[in-house]
Amino acid sequence: MIGRLVPVIIFLALGLLLAVGLKIADHKTEIPSPLIGKKMPEFSLPVLGQEETKVSSEDLLGAPFLLNVWASWCPTCRYEHPVITELAKSGAVRVIGLNYRDEAADAQQWLRRFGDPYEFSLADVSGRIGIDFGVYAAPESFLVDAEGNVVYKQIGAMTYEVIEQEILPRVRQ
């Protein structure tokens, strides 16, 4: 009797494994950030278009903000651009850009062409600050609270759904 049940049990276990695999397949390439709940990395970066103005991580404290990692070479950044624009326009949260591994001229042209929703963009030309943030592909967005803690990370394009379900509730807190 038990012998007969074994194949059924194995079948069910395998089915469960495959179901879980399918469920996480869409998010398989997303690496959970170890930064969540920690202080954001310290930095001091020039502002895109005003290279003599530097902004440090400390300067950004006081109100929550969304740090949106973007680049002119990144097609998905263009795809999410209307969503980021709408969030910035709504005024629900400060939206600051991190222009990642980009040429200043290309980046500025990109903003002229598609609109500049950012309060300002920080220029991380070498990508070194990106490494500190654990950026591995643009676009990525980090929600940082008023005290400078990273509270949420979105990997890939920002969506209205994520704004509604993940960003806004954390901003309102």
């Binding site: 690496i31 959970p32 170890p34 930064l35 591994r101 490494i131 500190d132 654990g134 950026v135």
Partner: protein
């Protein structure tokens, strides 16, 4: 026929050697240091193309990280410090051989557990078959 297979094997070996390192020329103080660098970059995962290690990958981020690792080595940091630097930023996923701890335990133990289940199943299958055969022999 055999010759054909040998040719194929040689060809594949040559291909794998040429693809082994997608790296920029770096200057090391000692051969040991260079070996350490190679060993380390092979053990670390490229975050962009996730089935490649840092040594093999041509992705810009992999290049940046190799540069970072090279810089840290030259500054006298040991392997643990370099790995910690990466894990702090990218998580355990960056390590091909993650530390054994709570959330990686299943990863380390499951293969052994599965092997043990297989061995036990094999043992019982063989034993019951032997018994059946012995019974048949007695009947016959």
């Amino acid at each position: 026929m055999i010759r054909k297979w040998i040719n194929l094997a040689v060809m594949l070996a040559a291909l794998s050697v040429s693809a082994a390192f997608a790296q920029e020329p770096l200057v090391f103080d000692t051969p040991e240091q260079e070996a350490r660098y190679q060993q380390l970059t092979v053990e670390l995962r490229c975050l962009v193309c996730q089935n490649q290690n840092l040594a093999d990958s041509d992705a810009p981020l992999a290049r940046d990280l190799r540069e970072e690792i090279y810089g840290m080595m030259m500054a006298g940091q040991d392997n643990e410090q370099i790995k910690t630097f990466l894990v702090d930023r990218y998580g355990d996923f960056v390590l091909y051989r993650p530390e054994i701890k709570g959330n990686t335990l299943a990863l380390w133990l499951l293969p052994g557990v599965l092997l043990a289940i297989g061995a036990i199943a094999l043992f019982f299958t063989v034993r019951s078959r032997n018994r059946k055969l012995a019974a048949q022999r007695q009947e016959g």
